[in-house]
């Protein structure tokens, strides 16, 4: 069995999702996360979605804006509902939500991501429990890079997986450096992620967030496979 591994369009081409999708199609990569990490990217993504052929992707998700202007939250949620109507999970940062009642509409398609060390919420299993208390139907996007940045021992990542494995809908993977930027996997991050790999179910899609050039897609995929090996059953 193989893990389903794909890329974030934002990691490959920032706001130019069409260019990123072309890169992925050329390589038969089966999963994609459409990034609208910056709020102005959401409108064009929504407008362009009807003309995109995503039928070749086995898994599609959408990343909601990470910083939503206070008076536009309802409008953003309404835009995102168009994507959710297609059955695509909506990945959201816990600190981007202000009125939780708006987000409950997504049910389990809302995929709450654990945060990096800069954020005041959602970094640890205890902090995530506060979010899930308010969004009991939401699922989890485990960002391994964030979890490692918060706790290099991967204890927190392990506790998050153990506590919320039933909610785990997708994984983000990349190295998150000291400036909290998503970078290529290093030897150290690969070794760290291997510590929790066996606890991540093989059918959970993995989205690569490493910010790389197109020529680095294949090497990065190999690094991800090394970081999250699939256990081979022994007969």
């Amino acid at each position: 069995m193989h893990r389903t591994i794909g890329f974030s369009t934002g990691a490959l081409a920032f706001g130019d999702f069409r260019r990123a999708l072309d890169m992925l199609r050329r390589r038969d990569i089966p999963a994609v996360e459409l990034s609208a990490l910056r709020q102005p990217e959401l409108g064009p993504l929504r407008a362009g979605i009807s003309e995109l052929d995503l039928s070749r992707f086995a898994y599609v998700a959408v990343h909601a804006p990470s910083n939503i202007k206070g008076d536009t939250e309802e409008q953003v949620v309404n835009h995102l509902l168009d994507f959710a109507a297609k059955g695509w999970p909506i990945v959201v940062h816990p600190d981007a939500m202000h009125d939780y009642s708006l987000w409950r509409t997504f049910g389990d398609l809302l995929c709450v991501e654990n945060m990096d060390k800069r954020k005041p919420v959602g970094r640890t299993v205890d902090e995530l429990s506060c979010v899930f208390d308010r969004l009991p139907d939401a699922s989890l996007c485990l960002d391994l890079g964030h979890a490692r940045q918060v706790d290099a021992t991967m204890t927190e990542a392990y506790l998050i997986v153990k506590s919320y494995v039933s909610k785990l809908r997708q994984v983000h993977i990349s190295e998150v450096n000291t400036c909290s930027r998503h970078d290529r996997l290093s030897f150290s991050s690969i070794k760290a992620f291997q510590q929790v790999a066996e606890f991540i179910p093989e059918n959970v899609p993995v989205i690569v967030e490493s910010v790389i050039d197109e020529c680095d897609i294949e090497p990065e995929l190999r690094s991800v496979e090394e970081a999250l090996p699939v256990r081979v059953a022994v007969a």
């Binding site: 021992t153 204890t155 400036c179």
Partner: protein, 372 residues
């Protein structure tokens, strides 16, 4: 945030024994107030990569009006040449609140870096200062303000002790005790004892009586609390509400999380948590905490404290204040040793491996230092 293991274990022990330890309570209240005051005035000094960390009596909830404030700026992030400019600012703020500056060894009142603390365990580069900073970070420290860097470093240190202890991970020993960690606690206790002799010599005996008093009380307490932390799993002390069940052997993430949670307790709370679990030691608990309460009472009393500070290195045994101090330390010592009866594991391991309680106190320190 994680839940404390037992809500207010010292108060719970007081209630069970139907006693009051007013000096312990006063010291705790003053520590809480002082940390809150520091938090208010140090706002904005720290960051996600740096934590202002206090140690000593302020972190142990044993703060009295004559206490100094041992602090350091713990760095776990990008190298920044400007960070050193933060030190005078912190010093200025803390000096305005503290009764006196931190110790002169340079262990505190300075920058402390995560890489040294995490990577240099044992070996030539694990200096006296590094060992002291690391062990005190585990046993008696508290972040003032942002805890991000502090938490990362603490867990990384614990990971080293657990992941590199093959016997503990495999569960191959008779007792489920992290020996790498336990041995480092034991080493630190001996370092403190040796440093007592060093300071007595280098400071020409000045303050030796007071340091002796503290060595036999607060320093011994943190060692005992370290040992009890190592034995906490074996003694089944560490089950926190909503915690993760121990899958031992081999469950290092759970062990790290469990130890981290246990170490949120102060040394006195660790001792109280242990004694609460063993009602047959109620008489011991009463004597131990009575002794410690009297110790803090003497420190909180300016006249007694100043007098103890002024005593020569070999005080007159008929001196009333010193006599009282000696009696307190003897009661504390004798009843610490009885804690070993909480478990056959402690008794066996402490005697065989670290000579931790009664045996070590007599053999290693008291006899050699000429203390009766």
């Amino acid at each position: 945030m994680s839940m404390p293991l037992t809500p207010a274990p010292v108060e719970a022990l007081e209630a069970r024994l139907n006693v009051r330890w007013p000096n312990i309570a006063a010291a705790r209240d003053l520590a809480v107030q002082t940390r809150a005051k520091l938090r208010g005035v140090l706002i904005g000094i720290d960051s996600e990569d740096s934590s202002v960390v206090v140690s000593g009596s302020l972190a142990r909830d044993e703060f009295t009006t004559g206490s100094d404030i041992d602090w350091s700026l713990l760095i776990d992030g990008q190298a920044d040449p400007n960070v050193v400019d933060t030190l005078p600012r912190i010093e200025e703020i803390i000096d305005a609140i503290a009764a006196k500056p931190p110790g002169r060894e340079g262990t505190f009142g300075a920058l402390s870096f995560s890489h040294d603390l995490i990577h240099q365990i044992g070996g030539e580069d694990d200096t006296n200062r590094n060992t002291t900073r690391r062990i005190l970070l585990l046993l008696e420290s508290s972040p003032i303000g942002r805890p991000d860097a502090y938490e990362r470093v603490l867990k990384s240190i614990l990971q080293r002790y657990i992941n590199e202890d093959d016997g503990f991970r495999r569960g191959s020993g008779r007792y489920h005790v992290p020996r790498f960690l336990q041995n480092d606690f034991a080493r630190y206790w001996r370092t403190m004892a040796v440093d007592f002799a060093y300071k007595r010599r280098s400071r020409h005996g000045r303050g030796a009586a007071m340091r002796n008093f503290k060595l036999r009380m607060s320093c011994k307490l943190i060692y005992v609390s370290g040992l009890l932390t190592c034995f906490s799993c074996e003694l089944k002390l560490s089950g926190r509400p909503g915690g993760h069940p121990c899958p031992a052997p081999g469950g290092s993430p759970e062990c790290i999380a469990c130890l981290r949670d246990f170490l949120r307790l102060t040394p006195l709370e660790i001792l109280a948590t242990t004694l609460l679990a063993f009602p047959h030691l109620d008489a011991t608990a009463r004597t131990l905490f009575n002794a410690y309460d009297r110790f803090l009472g003497l420190l909180a009393d300016k006249k007694s404290r100043d007098y103890l500070e002024s005593l020569p290195p070999d005080p007159d045994t008929h001196d009333a204040t010193w006599g009282e101090a000696r009696q307190i330390t003897h009661e504390f010592r004798d009843h610490c040793s009885k804690c070993s009866s909480t478990s056959r594991a402690i008794y066996t391991i402490s005697l065989r491996c670290t000579e931790s309680f009664n045996a070590s106190y007599h053999r290693l320190f008291h006899r050699r230092a000429g203390i009766r």
